[in-house]
Each structure stands twice: as C-alpha cells, then as structure tokens.
C-alpha cells in the first residue's frame, strides 16, 4: 500500500538523497535524536513494568538493563488474568468504533455546509461551534443522565458512544470545515457543469479529497474514546457487563494507593490498539493522495 505510493514519490526525493550521505548526516542525527528523546520516558516505565514495585522505587530503571537482570512478567500476567478483561476489551471496541464513525459522518455533512453553502448566520453559527470546544464535559453529565433515564439508556453501550459523538463534534466540524474550505473551487464548478447535485459533489468529490483530514480525525477521536474513563464510568456505572477496559484497569489500583505497576502494564497492553489504528490510517498521509486537492 504505502510502499507503492512511496515508490511513486521516489524520483523527486531521489535527487536530494543522492546529494551525499555526509550532507544528510545531520538530518539523520536530528531525527534519531528526537526519537530517542521522545522514547526515553516511555522506555523507563516500560522497563519498570517488568520489575517489582520495590525494585522500581529503589533503583533507577536503567540499572535493570545490566546484570543481574530481575525481570518478571508478573504485572502483565496479573492484568491479563483479571476477571472480565476480555469482555471489557470487546466493550471498548464496541464503544470506540461507533463513537469514531458516527461523529465523523455527522461532522462531514455540517462541515460541507459551512464550507460551501452560503447562508445567513453562518459566521456566528460556526463560531458558536468552535466555542463549544471549550465546554467542560463535566457540566453535561446530569442533564444527559436524566435524558437517558427516559430511554433506559443508562448503563448501555449506546449511552457512551452517543455522548462521545456529541462531545467530539465541535472539533470534528472545525477541522473538516477548514480542510474542505481549502478544496479548489474549480473542481466543484466543473462538476456543476456536469449537472452534479450537492449530494453527488459531496460523496464523489469533497469526501474523497478530505481523506487525510478524516484519517487524522479518526485517529484522534478513536484515541480520545479509547482512553476515556470519566464519561464511561458516568454512563455505564456499575453495570459490569458493559464496562470498557479503562474502568477495569482503574480497578487494578487500591483505594489507599499502590498498584501503579499494574496500571503501567495495562497502559502498554491497551495502547497497542490505538497504535494499530494509527499505523493503519497513516497510509492516508502520503504525498500525492489528495492529488492537488489543496490549491497551489
């Protein structure tokens, strides 16, 4: 997939690449240095997640890299053997997938309207949407719980993803409108000449050309929902059948403290999924995909 696109992109980069390995050394040093800096904090905890808590709090993680090594997978085993962890994993997916797909679609419609339809009040409305980005989620819980009660939604998976759809929309609309607004007018004008309707222009032109933004948004929304604890615990509560990973993981630590090592192990186990999503969607960030969608 990305391999083929890269080969296509190659000839241009090729010229520069040939300009000498020596000349590009600082570039490589910079990129690799940056990666190391970015990785160190995580590596530290990763190493510590294989040590006993007493070891981890009595000597630096780097000392564990030298003999005598005393690694154990006990923390991971503890997390994996938790009751209901598999079910929680499924629940996390069942919440996260609709909570990613639905807001992006709904936002794309609205973003399209904001970007390409002229109507009175659009400035004000758009600004109101941007303003909603700053609303603290905590102020919304009680009215929504009350509303849900009328539909018997509290404790259900839908309660969570519906809420995430609402909470995710301001950013989704904002980002997509700004990308869509940058699409070249000529493309739409030629479609108009062909007699295409608004729906056809949206599905055939606007949407495909906004793919990189949609991919970025999908990654972001997926992460946000995947790592969310507060919203889930409010709307799912004690209905243990429907609890996502985050709630089960939070349960690993004791009320009086202690248990960070399980939290660390769980963090490394659960971050695999969002990273896979990132890697899968990353192929939409390659050069040339938008094919001159952005004016220039």
């Amino acid at each position: 997939m990305s391999a083929t696109t890269e080969t296509r992109a190659m000839p241009i980069a090729e010229g520069r690449r040939r300009s000498g390995l020596l000349g590009r050394l600082p570039l490589h040093l910079f990129v690799i240095g940056l990666m190391v800096i970015w990785l160190i904090p995580t590596i530290g905890l990763f190493v510590n997640s294989f040590r006993t808590p007493t070891d981890a709090t009595s000597s630096g993680w780097w000392t564990a890299l030298f003999p005598p090594e005393a690694f154990s997978i006990e923390n991971y085993a503890y997390v994996i053997q938790r009751n209901g962890i598999a079910n929680a994993f499924l629940n996390s997916l069942l919440i996260t997938i609709p909570a990613t797909v639905v807001p992006i679609m709904v936002a794309a419609f609205a973003a399209y309207a904001f970007a390409w339809m002229r109507f009175p009040g659009r400035y004000l409305l758009f600004i109101a949407v941007v303003g909603l980005l700053v609303v603290p989620l905590q102020t919304t819980f009680i009215p929504i719980q009350k509303l849900y009660a009328g539909f018997g939604l509290n404790g259900q998976l839908a309660a969570v993803w519906l809420a995430h759809t609402g909470y995710g929309l301001p950013f989704a609309i904002y980002l997509l409108r700004n990308f869509m607004a940058e699409l070249p007018r000529e493309v739409f004008e030629s479609a108009d000449i062909d007699g295409a309707g608004w729906a056809s222009k949206f599905f055939r032109l606007a949407l495909p050309m906004t793919i990189p933004a949609i991919a970025a948004l999908a990654i972001f929304q997926f992460l946000f929902t995947w790592n969310d604890l507060l919203v889930a615990i409010i709307y799912i509560g004690a209905n243990t059948d429907n609890q996502p990973m985050t709630i089960v993981v939070a349960n690993l630590t004791q009320s009086i403290g202690g248990g960070w090592q399980y939290l660390a192990a769980a963090a490394f186990l659960t971050m695999a999924v969002p990273l896979l999503v990132f890697l899968a969607l990353q192929r939409y960030f390659v050069r040339g995909l938008t094919g001159g969608a952005v004016k220039g």
Partner: protein, 449 residues
C-alpha cells in the same frame, strides 16, 4: 481511611461538576432532589421482584466502592458466602471517582444499590437529600450496636437514624520501626518526651530520626494532616480536637499553632528534609527504614501501610513492628485516632437488605480481616492474620478516647486547604503564621452554608 477518602473526594472533583447543572435543573433544589427516581432499580438488568418472601435467588445487587486490587479481591471473598447461600449475585465496580458518581447520581437518580460513601460529610448530605435508606430496620440493630465500636456506630448516624456502616476501618498514628535497627518493643516510649529521648539516644543508627513523605498526587499533604491531628488530640485533648474540626477553634489558636510547631520538630529531623518530604510519596516514605544504611529510626503512618511499599514484602514482627502514638499530655492518655470506609444503601429491595445485613456480621467481617490489610469495626471479627493487625484492631476497640480523622470530618474545602497548608509548611516552616492565617480565612468561608 484518610487517603481513600481524600483521594476519592478530590478525584470526585473531577466531575461532580455535574452538580452545577443538576442544581439548576431542579430550581427548588434546596429541598429533596428527585427521591422518586432514587428508589427504582437502575443498572441491574435481570432484576425481577422476588415472588414474595425472601427468595432473592437470581437477583443482582450493584455496588460501587473505592476498593481496587487486593481490596476488591477481599470484598469479593467477603460476599461469596452470601452469594452461595442466597443465589443472588453482586456486581461490584471499584473507582476513584466514587464521589462524582454518587453526587451525580443523587441529582439524576442513577444510583447503584449499595455504595461506599466518600466520607461522613457526604453521607450527611446524601441522607438529607433523602437518598440513603434508613438501616435501622434493615440491620439487626441490637447485635450491630453491641458488636461495633460505639464511636463508629455514632458516626454512621444522621438524625438518630443509621444510614452508614463501617465496612472496614484503620487506626491512625502508629509509629513503625525496624527492630533490626533499633528494637523499641522492650520499652516502647509511652510519652512524647520519652520518644524524643529514644530518638536522640539512637541517632547514630540511622541518617535521621524520622521518615516522612506527604506526596499523594492530588491529595498531597494528607499524611501531614494526620500528624497534626494526632498531636492536637494528645496535646490539647478531644474537646479542642472536636471544636477544631467543627470550625469553632481557629487555626491561629495557640493550641493548634503549637501542634504545628511540634510537627515542625519532626519535619526538621526527617530523612530528605523539606524537599524530600514533599517529593516522597507516602506509600514508599517508610522504605528507608529497611535500607542497608537506614534512613530513619521511626515512621508515622496508619495501619494500612503494611499493604504498601516495602512493608508489603517484609514480615510483620521480625522486619517491622509498631508502638502506638505516645501520650503528649498525660491528661488525655489512651486517645486513638481512627478512620474507616463507610457504606450505605440507596435502593431498598429484599436482596439489598439481605446483603447489607450480612455485611456487618462478624462472619462476613472475618473474611476480610483474614485476608489482611484491613481492620474491622466489628469486635467479634478477630481472625487477623498476624499479631500486628490484631494489636492495631485492639487499639480501636480499647480506646479510652476515640477520635475520627479530623480532616475527613472537615468540609472538603477546609480539608484541601489543610493539605496545602502542610505542603507549604514543610517547604518553609518560617511561613507558619501566614499559613495559619490563610487557613483561618478558609475556615471562615468553608463552614458557611
């Protein structure tokens, strides 16, 4: 215990913001928020009303508490016999966000059947909102009152009704030491002066006299509040102690100020100094006791420390031991400070009644006690795994003067200011006067309704 409550309350701050909204949703809010909704079962799907009598087989009881990890395991063990006997099941969720879930729930009507309660203050609020079920008719009251430490029974009452019970408790202000460094067990210091003398006499055995660490995330400072409470209780006595947490004795009062100054002498002789105290997490603060070159001789912390840090991996009695906080003013001999986890009931069904009744019995309490890491409020639960737990439990049951953790009893705003005061004082003890002045200002507003 302090940490439980402190953390959950502050964590609660996370979201009880919801109350903002709630409060305006029902304009006549001051009186009862929707008690109608509070009664109905909520998140228990397969719940069918028992056909009559007490056949609760197949029913589900939903519970939310703060316990996680080992505590959660212990709780499950504790309810297992009840599940086996009745055929009903318990769905338990542990969360640090207890406060937010409950305060939200009180407003929206979405509540678990039973729940841990963040603290006596919140319990009172929930009870006044009509959300908590009066347990007087649920429990076998006579047995409950005879088996349970009277002070704890009282703390669970609002307007004479029992609305909360203590599922587990802890004793505060134990002084821990490593017998292989210096064994205090032969002649445990009975007074503060004896303790000071013992520390001075053995100063060469460790880098400093005390271990102390007050870092605890959002609740940083609370271990210091326990210190000051212990001192106030024994230096100024229970009357001052009570009027202090009730907001009647000022922070600048000489009795309180002198407690801070006594605490200051400990800070001055603590491993790592002021920076160290503020940077060290309470869980591992006692670990230098066990270092090859011991960091300290003694360490002050509640009974639950045995389940944390290096204590967890050491053997009770041989690696560590404790003596109770010594008397300061002999007039108040036998004073003990304790804390505990409250539990309340939101839905009145045959299954919840049956479970609640079971939980306070010595039989149920014994299960958790045997598991370790917790003390019971029930005198007849005595299956403690080691001598150390047994002795700490006896401290509560035999206390001449029992005081509940003062900061837990204070309004949350006061409590948080107290934590901050401790952190600021540890960082710079010369600022004591301005710290106490600020606390007085908070006191003036925090208690106002």
């Amino acid at each position: 215990m302090q940490s439980t409550r402190s953390r959950s309350t502050i964590l609660a701050a996370l979201g009880s913001a919801a109350m903002i909204v709630a409060a305006c949703t029902s304009p006549s809010t001051s009186s009862g928020p929707g008690p109608t909704t509070v009664v109905g079962p909520t998140t228990a799907p397969g719940q069918t009303q028992a056909a009559g009598g007490d056949d609760i087989s197949g029913e589900t009881v939903t519970i939310i508490g703060t316990w996680g990890g080992d505590e959660e395991t212990a709780f499950h063990e504790m309810v297992k016999p009840w599940e086996d006997e009745t055929g009903a099941t318990v769905k338990y969720t542990g969360t640090r966000d207890l406060n937010i879930i409950l305060s939200n729930g009180i407003q929206s009507g979405v509540l678990p059947d039973l729940a841990g309660l963040p603290g006596p203050g919140q319990m009172k609020e929930y009870a006044e909102a009509g959300a908590l079920v009066d347990l007087t008719s649920v429990l076998d009251t006579a047995t409950y009152e005879s088996e349970t430490a009277p002070a704890l029974v009282e703390l669970g009452k609002v307007d004479g009704k029992i609305v909360g019970v203590f599922i587990k408790s802890a004793v505060k202000g134990l002084i821990w030491y490593n017998p292989t460094v210096n064994d205090f067990s032969g002649s445990a210091p009975a007074t503060w002066d004896e303790l000071k003398a013992a520390i001075t006499a053995n100063a060469s055995k460790a880098k400093s006299g005390w271990c102390l660490g007050v870092e605890s995330g959002a609740a940083s400072g609370w271990p210091g509040t326990d210190w000051i409470e212990d001192i106030v209780l024994r230096q100024a006595g229970p009357d001052v102690y009570n009027s202090w947490w009730q907001g009647q004795t000022k922070w600048t009062d000489p009795a309180i100020k002198s407690a801070w100054e006594t605490f200051g002498t400990v800070v001055a002789d603590s491993f790592g100094g002021g920076t160290g105290i503020n940077a060290t997490n309470f869980e591992v603060a006692g670990d230098p006791l066990f270092a090859a070159e011991p960091g300290c001789l003694v360490f002050h912390q509640a009974s639950f420390i045995t389940g944390l840090g290096a204590f967890k991996t050491k053997t009770a009695g041989t690696d560590y031991n404790f003596f109770p906080f010594p008397d300061i003013n002999t007039q108040f001999t036998g004073a003990v400070e304790g804390a505990g986890d409250l539990f309340g009931m939101f839905h009145d069904t045959p299954a919840t009644r049956s479970l609640m009744k079971y939980l306070v019995t010595a039989k149920a309490q014994d299960v958790w006690v045997k598991h370790g890491g917790a003390l019971s409020a029930n005198k007849n639960a005595t299956s403690y795994p080691d001598d150390i737990s047994k002795r700490s439990a006896e401290l509560i049951t035999n206390a001449k003067i029992f005081a509940f953790d003062a900061s837990d009893l204070m309004p949350q705003e006061m409590n948080a200011a107290f934590w901050k005061g401790v952190v600021d004082y540890v960082a710079d003890p010369s600022k004591l006067d301005s710290i106490l002045k600020d606390l007085d200002d908070t006191q003036a507003s925090a208690y106002a309704e």
